[in-house]
C-alpha cells in the first residue's frame, strides 16, 4: 500500500540531470565525512599540524569553513522554527521573547566571542569539537536573530482566510505548522537567510582564530589562514584567500541560494502574473533528478506520517482558565521576569562597579561618540556615492540585471579579508589611522545601500517617469521631487542595515595588524578589541554594553521613526 505514483524509481534510464545530481550528492557526502573526521581529534593535534600558507591546502580550509557556515545555518534554522514559533503562539512567552530578540539583533556579538569561546571549550575539554562549537556559535549569533524575527512576523501575519480554511478542514496544529505556517513564512525566511549568510562570512573569518587567555586556537579554515598570513606579512597568501572566498561564495550562491530563491517563489501568497520567475539551473537539476525527487518525497512522507501521529483532538482544547486566574498567572509571569531582570542588572552593575570606575565608563561613552560620528559620516559619504549610482542603475533594467547580483555578492564578501591591504597601505604611506581606518567599517556594508536603492529605483512606475518627462521635470527638481522620494523607503532600509553592520565591523576595523605592526583608530571598537586581547572580562562587558546601548538608542530615536515616516509618506502601493 501507500505507493504514490511519482516515486517509483528508475522507470527509464537515468537522465543527465541524474548524473549531475549524483556527482553533487557524492561530493557533498565525501566532503562532510572528511570534515567531520577531524572533529573529535584532541586539540593538541591542531598544534601538531600547524596551518600552512601553501595555497594547496586552501580547498580543504575552504571546505572546513563552509562546513561551519552550514552547521551554523542549520542551528539558526532550528532556533528559528522553535523560538519564533513559541514567541508567536504563546502570548505570555512572546511578551518576553520578542523584545529579547529585538535587543539581540542590535547587540554587537563580535565582542563576546572570546567569552563564549571559554564556555564552549570547557564543554568538550581538550578537543577540537569545543573550539568548533565556539566558532559555529559565533556565526550562529550573526544569523539567527533576523531569521527568527522574520519567521515570527510571518507567523503573525498568516492571512485570516487561510487560517480559517485550515481550521474548517480540521487540520491538527502539527499539520497546520507544516502545511500552512512554515510554507507561508518561507519566502521571508529564505531572504533573511541570504542576508544572514552575508553577515556570517564576516564572522567566520573573525571567529576561527580564537585567543583565550594565553593560548591561541586556530581552527583550520580560511579565517585562520588569513590570520596567519597577516602575522607573516604574506600578501600573496592573502590574495589566494580572497580568490578562494570569492569561489566559495559563488558556489554557495549557485548551489544553495539561487535554488532556494527560485523554489520559494511558489510560496508567495500574492501572485503578480507579470513578475519574472526566478531561475536556477541547480533547482532545475533537483526537480528533474529522480534521486533528489526521492529525497524530497521522503520529507513529504515524514510530514504526512508524523501528521497522523499528532492527531487533532475531537473535542476542542479545554477552555482557558477563568480571567481572574489568568490574570494572576500573568502577574506571576511578569514579576518573575522583573525579578530576573533586577538580579541580572545588579550582577552586571555590581561587577562593573567593583572592577571599573565611573571615569572609565565616561571615557567609554566618549569613545562610543567618536565611533558614532564615524558611522554617520561614512553612511552619509557612502550615500552620496551610491544613491545617484543606484538610481541610475535601477532605472535601466538591463544594467540592473547585471549590477544587482554583483552588489549582493559584494555584500556577502567578508570585507575583513581586505583589511590587510588597507593596513599595508596605511603603514607604507604613514597615513593617519583615525581617518584612513574609518572606511574599513563601511567597506562591507555600503552595498546594502546600493542594492536597496537599485531595487527601489526599479520599482518607479514607467508612467511616473513618462509623466516627469512630459512635464519637463529635469535636473535637480527631478532628483528632489521624483527620484529621491521614490527610493526613500528603500534607502532607509539599506541604511539601517549598513549602520548596524558598521557598528559591528568597528570592533575589527578600528584595530588592525600587519605582522607585528598594530594600527589603531581611537574609538569604542578598538577599546573592545584591546579588552578582548587582554582578556579583561569587565572591560569587554562595559564596552559591548555601551555599544549595545548606543545602537539600540540610535535605532529607536533615529532610524525607526525615519523608517515609519518613509513608509507612510513615500511607499508606493
Amino acid at each position: 500500500m501507500n505507493r504514490f505514483e511519482p516515486y517509483v524509481f528508475l522507470k527509464g534510464l537515468a537522465s543527465r540531470w541524474d548524473v549531475l545530481a549524483f556527482i553533487v550528492v557524492i561530493g557533498l557526502i565525501a566532503f562532510l565525512g572528511e570534515t567531520a573526521h577531524g572533529l573529535f581529534a584532541p586539540l593538541t593535534q591542531l598544534e601538531a599540524t600547524p596551518l600552512s600558507l601553501n595555497p594547496i591546502h586552501l580547498p580543504e580550509y575552504a571546505a572546513r569553513t563552509t562546513f561551519r557556515m552550514l552547521a551554523a545555518l542549520a542551528a539558526s534554522l532550528l532556533f528559528t522554527l522553535t523560538y519564533a514559533t513559541w514567541a508567536a503562539k504563546s502570548e505570555r512567552a512572546g511578551r518576553l521573547l520578542v523584545p529579547i530578540l529585538d535587543i539581540l539583533q542590535s547587540v554587537p556579538i563580535l565582542g563576546f566571542i572570546s567569552i563564549t569561546s571559554v564556555f564552549f571549550l570547557s564543554l568538550a575539554p581538550g578537543r577540537v569539537l569545543g573550539a568548533e562549537f565556539a566558532a559555529i556559535f559565533a556565526i550562529f549569533t550573526s544569523q539567527a536573530w533576523n531569521m527568527a524575527f522574520s519567521f515570527y512576523q510571518s507567523l503573525r501575519t498568516v492571512p485570516v482566510e487561510l487560517i480559517e480554511a485550515a481550521e474548517s478542514f480540521r487540520l491538527s496544529r502539527w499539520m497546520r505548522f507544516w502545511q500552512l505556517e512554515t510554507p507561508f513564512g518561507m519566502p521571508a525566511l529564505v531572504w533573511n537567510m541570504m542576508l544572514s549568510m552575508s553577515g556570517g562570512w564576516f564572522f567566520v573569518v573573525a571567529s576561527e582564530s580564537i585567543t583565550v587567555g594565553h593560548s591561541a586556537v586556530a581552527l583550520p579554515g580560511v579565517g585562520s589562514y588569513i590570520a596567519l598570513a597577516i602575522q607573516e606579512k604574506n600578501l600573496v597568501a592573502i590574495g589566494w584567500a580572497i580568490v578562494t572566498m570569492l569561489i566559495v561564495i559563488l558556489i554557495y550562491d549557485q548551489l544553495l541560494f539561487r535554488p532556494l530563491v527560485a523554489w520559494v517563489d511558489r510560496f508567495r501568497v500574492e501572485q503578480e502574473p507579470g513578475e519574472k520567475i526566478p531561475d536556477s539551473w541547480a533547482l532545475t537539476m533537483m526537480r528533474r533528478s529522480r534521486v533528489i525527487n526521492a529525497a524530497t518525497a521522503a520529507f513529504h512522507n515524514l510530514v504526512f506520517w508524523t501528521s497522523r501521529l499528532v492527531k487533532r483532538p475531537d473535542k476542542p482544547p479545554v477552555e482557558d482558565p477563568a480571567p481572574s486566574k489568568r490574570r494572576s498567572l500573568d502577574w506571576l509571569w511578569v514579576s518573575l521576569i522583573i525579578a530576573a531582570l533586577v538580579l541580572g542588572l545588579w550582577h552586571i552593575v555590581a561587577g562593573l562597579i567593583a572592577n571599573t570606575s565611573p571615569s572609565e565608563a565616561l571615557h567609554v561613552c566618549g569613545l562610543a561618540c567618536i565611533t558614532m560620528v564615524r558611522v554617520f559620516v561614512l553612511i552619509a559619504l557612502a550615500s552620496l556615492v551610491w544613491v545617484p549610482i543606484g538610481i541610475w542603475v535601477g532605472m535601466r533594467p538591463r544594467v540592473a540585471e547585471v549590477v544587482q547580483p554583483i552588489a549582493q555578492f559584494m555584500a556577502a564578501f567578508p570585507a575583513n579579508l581586505l583589511f590587510p591591504l588597507a593596513v599595508y597601505g596605511i603603514a607604507t604611506w604613514r597615513l593617519d589611522p583615525n581617518v584612513f581606518l574609518s572606511p574599513l567599517m563601511i567597506l562591507g556594508t555600503q552595498w546594502y545601500i546600493l542594492f536597496n536603492i537599485i531595487a527601489g529605483a526599479s520599482t518607479i512606475p514607467a508612467e511616473m517617469r513618462y509623466a516627469a518627462t512630459n512635464f519637463g521635470i529635469k535636473g535637480w527638481l527631478w532628483w528632489r521631487k521624483v527620484a529621491l522620494p521614490a527610493v526613500l523607503p528603500f534607502y532607509v532600509t539599506g541604511a539601517i542595515t549598513a549602520s548596524g553592520g558598521s557598528w559591528n565591523a568597528a570592533q575589527v576595523s578600528e584595530l588592525v595588524s600587519w605582522g607585528h605592526t598594530e594600527i589603531r583608530a581611537k574609538g569604542l571598537g578598538s577599546y573592545i578589541a584591546d579588552a578582548a586581547a587582554a582578556d579583561n572580562f569587565h572591560q569587554i562587558v562595559l564596552g559591548v554594553g555601551v555599544m549595545s546601548l548606543f545602537v539600540v538608542v540610535i535605532n529607536r530615536v533615529f532610524w525607526r521613526p525615519l523608517y515609519y515616516y518613509a513608509e507612510r509618506k513615500y511607499r508606493m502601493t
Binding site: 500500500m1 504514490f4 480559517e164 480554511a165 474548517s168 478542514f169 499539520m175 502545511q179 492527531k311
Partner: protein, 440 residues
C-alpha cells in the same frame, strides 16, 4: 464519516437566540448579531442576504465553528457546535487556496487531516476534481488558474470531505459576471441532479438576484446590530429565469424590504423620516464624486428626480452593496429620501444637481454643517480656538467613546473628504492637524 441516519424532517442545523458581540477597547461590548433563530432542513439552499456589516458572514463563521457565539446555541444534527464540525465544509470568498499546493494537494488536504489511507485520499480527491470539472488540472498550482478555476478548486476541496452542509461565503463575488454565472449554473445543475454529497447549503450574499436565483429560502438581514428582518420563500421552479416577471417582482420586493426603515422611525412625522444622527454615528466612506454623480443621474431624465433603486442600479452598473451607502449618504445630507425602493431628490438635491461647481460647494457646505454633527463640531472647535487648529487625536478620542478604533478612523476620514470638498476646514495628514487655513 457521518453515517448517522438523518431523521427525516429534523433540521440539519439549528440556531437558537444566537448573539455575538466583540469587546471594544474601552471594555464595552460591540453587538454585531442579535436574536438569530434559524433552521436549515435537508434539501434546502438557504440564503443569508444583507449588506456588508449586517453580520451575515459572522453568523456563517459561528455555524462553521470558527467562532463561538456570545449567547444562544448552534446545533448541528442536534449536537452543539464546538469548534469546526466534521460534516460542515466551507467555500470562501477569496478562495483561500494554499498557493504552495497543487490543485490535487489542495483538495486532498482536508482528507489528510482525517487520517484516511492514502489510496482512499487519492480516489476521493480525483473523484471530487472530476465532479467539479477540473480534470486535467490536478498538477497545476493555483496561480496558474483563472479566478473561476480557483473557485472550482475551492468547491472541490469542500465537497471532497463529504459534508452534510456546505457553507458558501459570497463565493461568486470575486469573479467576473460571466464566470460567476457559469459557476452558479454548474453548481445548481449538480445540486439538482443530486451528484454532490451534500444535504443542505447556506449561501451568504449581498446580491439580491443571486439569492433569488439560487435559494429556496432567503433570510434578509438588517444592520446595527445584525438581525433577521424577514424570511422570504422562493417557490419559483428551477432553473429560474432572471427575465421572468415573477422573478423581477421578487427582486423588487426584496429591494423594498431592504430599504425599509426601522419600524420605530417610520411612524413619526416628516422630520423623523431621516435617521437620527449624533456625533457618534459612523459615517460611510463615500466620496463627493459619487454623491454628485448619483444626484445627477437621478435628476436627469428618465428619472427626473425620482428613481427606482433596482432600475438605477442596473443603469449605473452598480451592485446594491455599492449603491446603498451612496443613497443613504444623500438621505443623511438631506439631498434625497429613500422609501419603498425609491430614491427621491429633495429640493436642494435638485438644485445641487443643476448648479455649477461653486454653487454646488456652497450648497454642500450648508448641508454638511447642518446635518453632519461631527463636521459642525470640528468647525466650531476650530472657530473658537485662537490658533484655529486642532489635533486629530482630540476628535479620535471623542469618537472612540461611541465606536471602535477602526470606525472612528474611517468616520474621520469621511468627514475630512466632505469638508475638503465643501472647503469647510483643512486637514494636514502629515502633522495630523485640522485647521481653518487653506494651504498656501
Amino acid at each position: 464519516m457521518n453515517s448517522s441516519p438523518l431523521l427525516s424532517g429534523s433540521p440539519l442545523l439549528q440556531c437558537t437566540d444566537v448573539r455575538k458581540s466583540f469587546p471594544k477597547p474601552d471594555g464595552e461590548e460591540l453587538l454585531v448579531l442579535e436574536g438569530m433563530n434559524l433552521e436549515l432542513r435537508e434539501g434546502q439552499i438557504m440564503g443569508l442576504l444583507g449588506r456588508s456589516g449586517s453580520g451575515k458572514s459572522t453568523l456563517l463563521r459561528l455555524i462553521a465553528g470558527l467562532a463561538e457565539p456570545s449567547a444562544g446555541d448552534v446545533r448541528y444534527l442536534g449536537q452543539p457546535v464546538v469548534g469546526p464540525a466534521r460534516g460542515i465544509a466551507m467555500v470562501f470568498q477569496s478562495f483561500a487556496l494554499f498557493p504552495w499546493l497543487t490543485v490535487f494537494e489542495n483538495v486532498a488536504l482536508g482528507l489528510e487531516a482525517q487520517n484516511l489511507p492514502r489510496a482512499e485520499i487519492r480516489k476521493r480527491s480525483l473523484a471530487a476534481i472530476d465532479l467539479i470539472g477540473l480534470d486535467g488540472f490536478e498538477s497545476a498550482y493555483p496561480r496558474e488558474l483563472s479566478g473561476g478555476m480557483r473557485q472550482r478548486v475551492g468547491f472541490a476541496r469542500a465537497l471532497v470531505v463529504h459534508p452534510n452542509i456546505l457553507l458558501m461565503d459570497e463565493p461568486f463575488s470575486a469573479l467576473d459576471v460571466l464566470t460567476a454565472e457559469t459557476l452558479r449554473t454548474d453548481f445548481l445543475d449538480l445540486w439538482a441532479e443530486g451528484r454532490m454529497p451534500i444535504k443542505g447549503v447556506i449561501l451568504v450574499t449581498h446580491n439580491i438576484e443571486e439569492a433569488v436565483l439560487m435559494c429556496d429560502r432567503i433570510l434578509v438581514f438588517g444592520s446595527n446590530p445584525g438581525r433577521i428582518l424577514s424570511e422570504i420563500k422562493v417557490t419559483l421552479p428551477q432553473p429560474r429565469n432572471r427575465l421572468d416577471p415573477s422573478f423581477r417582482e421578487l427582486v423588487e420586493r426584496i429591494y423594498v424590504e431592504m430599504t425599509a426603515r426601522p419600524k420605530a422611525a417610520a411612524t413619526g412625522g416628516r422630520q423623523e423620516r431621516f435617521p437620527g444622527l449624533g456625533i457618534g454615528s459612523v459615517l460611510p466612506h463615500v466620496g463627493s464624486n459619487l454623491i454628485s454623480g448619483l444626484m445627477e443621474a437621478v435628476a436627469a431624465p428618465p428619472f427626473n428626480g425620482k428613481a427606482d433603486l433596482p432600475e438605477i442600479a442596473s443603469d449605473l452598473q452598480m451592485e446594491i452593496d455599492e449603491l446603498f451607502p451612496v443613497a443613504e449618504t444623500l438621505q443623511m445630507l438631506r439631498f434625497g429620501e429613500l422609501e419603498g425602493g425609491d430614491l427621491k431628490l429633495t429640493e436642494d438635491g435638485m438644485a445641487f444637481a443643476h448648479a455649477d461647481i461653486d454653487e454646488r460647494k456652497r450648497i454642500f457646505l450648508r448641508h454638511l454643517l447642518a446635518y453632519v454633527p461631527l463636521a459642525a463640531h470640528i468647525r466650531r472647535v476650530l472657530d473658537e480656538r485662537a490658533s484655529h487648529s486642532a489635533r486629530k487625536s482630540r476628535f479620535i478620542d471623542e469618537l472612540e467613546d461611541f465606536m471602535s478604533e477602526e470606525d472612528a478612523d474611517q468616520t474621520l476620514r469621511a468627514v475630512v473628504r466632505w469638508a475638503r470638498y465643501a472647503e469647510a476646514f483643512a486637514y494636514d495628514d502629515e502633522n495630523a492637524m485640522f485647521s481653518l487655513e487653506n494651504p498656501t
